[in-house]
C-alpha cells in the first residue's frame, strides 16, 4: 500500500509541476481506487457510484493547490472523497443508505475496481451550459489539448483570461454538480 502511495504521490507532484502525462497516470489510477472505495460505501446506491467518482476526481483537480507536501497524499484524497460522499448523502437525505462511510481508517488504496459503470449525469451536457469565456478555453485546452497560447489565438482571449476561464469553468462545473452554490 505504501508503494502505491509513493507512486501516486510522485505522479501527483509531477502533475502539480505541470506534467500532463504523470498527472494523467495519477488520475487514472486514483479513479480505480476511488471506484472501489465508493462502491463499498454506496452498496445501496450503486447507480450513484460512477457519478461520485467523477465528482470526486473533479474536486481533487479543482482543489489540488490545497495539498500540503508534508502530508500523506492518501489522507488528503481520502478527506476529499469522504467530504463528497457525505455531501451526496446529505443531498439525498438518505442517511439510511449510509453504509458506514464515516470510518476514519484510511483504506482508500485497499481496493481497485476498473469496471466503470456509465455515469448517469453527463458532464459534457453540463459543460455546454457554461458561459463562452469558460466553455471555449475548456473545449480548446482540455478537450482538444491545445496550449494556453494556441487557445488564446483560437478564442481571441488573452492568455491569462484563458487560464482563468479554465479554472473558473471547472469550479462552476463542480457547483452545478452539487446543485447550486
Amino acid at each position: 500500500m505504501s508503494v502505491t502511495e509513493a507512486r501516486l504521490r510522485d505522479c501527483f507532484l509531477r502533475g502539480l509541476a505541470g506534467e500532463s502525462t504523470a498527472y494523467h497516470a495519477f488520475l487514472q489510477e486514483l479513479s480505480v481506487h476511488l471506484r472501489a472505495f465508493l462502491r463499498r460505501r454506496l452498496s445501496r446506491l450503486p447507480d450513484e457510484v460512477e457519478d461520485l467518482v467523477q465528482e470526486t476526481l473533479l474536486a481533487v483537480h479543482n482543489q489540488r493547490h490545497t495539498y500540503d507536501a508534508g502530508q500523506p497524499l492518501t489522507a488528503w484524497v481520502h478527506a476529499i472523497a469522504r467530504y463528497k460522499l457525505v455531501d451526496l448523502l446529505r443531498r439525498r437525505a438518505g442517511r439510511d443508505a449510509l453504509n458506514d462511510p464515516l470510518d476514519d481508517d484510511i483504506d482508500l488504496l485497499a481496493g481497485s475496481d476498473t469496471e466503470a459503470a456509465d455515469a448517469r449525469r453527463d458532464l459534457a451536457k453540463l459543460l455546454a451550459r457554461l458561459p463562452d469565456k469558460q466553455r471555449l478555453p475548456i473545449m480548446h485546452m482540455k478537450l482538444q489539448g491545445l496550449s494556453v497560447a494556441e487557445t488564446a489565438r483560437a478564442t481571441g482571449l488573452s492568455e491569462s483570461a484563458v487560464k482563468v476561464g479554465v479554472h473558473r469553468g471547472l469550479k462552476a462545473l463542480a457547483i452545478m454538480i452539487r446543485g447550486g452554490p
Binding site: 502533475g15 502539480l16 509541476a17 505541470g18 506534467e19 500532463s20 502525462t21 498527472y23 494523467h24 488520475l27 487514472q28 479513479s31 471506484r35 460512477e50 467518482v53 467523477q54 476526481l57 473533479l58 474536486a59 483537480h61 479543482n62 482543489q63 489540488r64 493547490h65 490545497t66 495539498y67 500540503d68 507536501a69 502530508q71 489522507a75 488528503w76 484524497v77 481520502h78 478527506a79 476529499i80 469522504r82 467530504y83 455531501d87 466503470a116 456509465d118 455515469a119 453527463d122 458532464l123 459534457a124 459543460l127 475548456i138 485546452m141 482540455k142 478537450l143 489539448g145 491545445l146 496550449s147 494556453v148 487557445t151 487560464k163 479554465v166 471547472l170 463542480a174 452539487r178 452554490p181
Partner: protein, 213 residues
C-alpha cells in the same frame, strides 16, 4: 462523459500549480483585514488620549500580547483547517494557552484585591461597549478570512468558520486595545474573551453555509 474521458480532459494541458496556497491566502487576508480594522479604530474611536503614558505600563503590552498570541495560533490553525483532512493538532494548545493564562492572571489579581474592588476590576468603565467594539472591528478580517477559505477546501466547515471568527476577533481585540482605557486582567478575561467569542460563534454558524465546495 465517461470517467476515462473526464480523466483525459482534466489531465490535458495541465498548468503548473504553486504550493502553499493556504499559507499565501491567509497571509493576504491578514495583510488586508488588519490595516482596515486599524484604520476604522483610528478614524472612528481613536487611540486613547494618554497613550504616551500607557506605553510605559507592562499591562498595556500584556493587553496587546494576549490577542496577538491568539491571532498567531489561530492563523496557523486556520491554515491547517483549510486543507482537506486538516486538523488543529498542536495549534489547539496555542489557542487555549493565552486564554487560560489571562484567566489565571485574573484569578491572581482578584485574589489579591479587596472584595470592594472586584466590581471595578471586572467591569471597569467600559464593559458594555468593549465586546461589541471588538466584534465590530473583527468584521474586516472575518470577511478577508472567509474569502481566503472559500478559495481552499475545509472539510470541517463549522470548525474552520469558528477559527476564522476567533482569529478575526483576536485581530479586532488587538486593534481595539490601543483605544481601550482598561488595564485589569479580570476585565480582559471577561470582555475581551467575550468580544472574540462573538465572531467565533458567528463563524461556526456561517461556516457550513459559506465554506461549501
Amino acid at each position: 462523459m465517461k470517467t476515462d474521458e473526464l480523466v483525459a480532459m482534466l489531465a490535458s494541458s495541465v498548468e503548473a500549480v504553486p504550493l502553499h496556497s493556504s499559507e499565501r491566502r491567509h497571509a493576504i487576508a491578514l495583510a488586508c483585514g488588519l490595516p482596515v480594522a486599524l484604520a476604522l479604530m483610528v478614524v472612528f474611536i481613536g487611540v486613547r488620549p494618554d497613550i504616551t503614558e500607557a506605553v510605559a505600563l507592562p499591562m498595556f503590552w500584556m493587553k496587546l500580547a494576549f490577542p496577538a498570541v491568539l491571532l498567531a495560533g489561530g492563523a496557523f490553525a486556520a491554515i491547517r483547517l483549510s486543507r482537506p483532512g486538516g486538523r488543529m493538532g498542536v495549534t489547539a494548545v496555542a489557542l487555549a494557552a493565552p486564554v487560560l493564562a489571562i484567566w489565571l492572571l485574573a484569578a491572581v489579581t482578584l485574589a489579591g484585591a479587596a472584595p470592594a474592588e472586584y466590581g471595578l476590576l471586572i467591569f471597569g468603565q467600559t464593559w458594555a461597549a468593549c465586546p461589541f467594539m471588538i466584534a465590530l472591528l473583527a468584521v474586516p478580517l472575518f470577511v478577508a478570512l472567509i474569502w481566503a477559505m472559500q478559495g481552499l477546501a475545509p472539510t470541517r466547515p463549522a470548525l474552520a468558520g469558528a477559527v476564522a471568527g476567533l482569529v478575526a476577533g483576536a485581530g479586532g481585540a488587538l486593534v481595539y486595545a490601543p483605544h481601550c482605557p482598561e488595564m485589569a486582567a479580570p476585565f480582559l478575561g471577561a470582555w475581551y474573551v467575550l468580544g472574540m467569542a462573538i465572531p467565533a460563534i458567528a463563524g461556526a454558524l456561517l461556516g457550513p453555509r459559506m465554506l461549501r465546495w
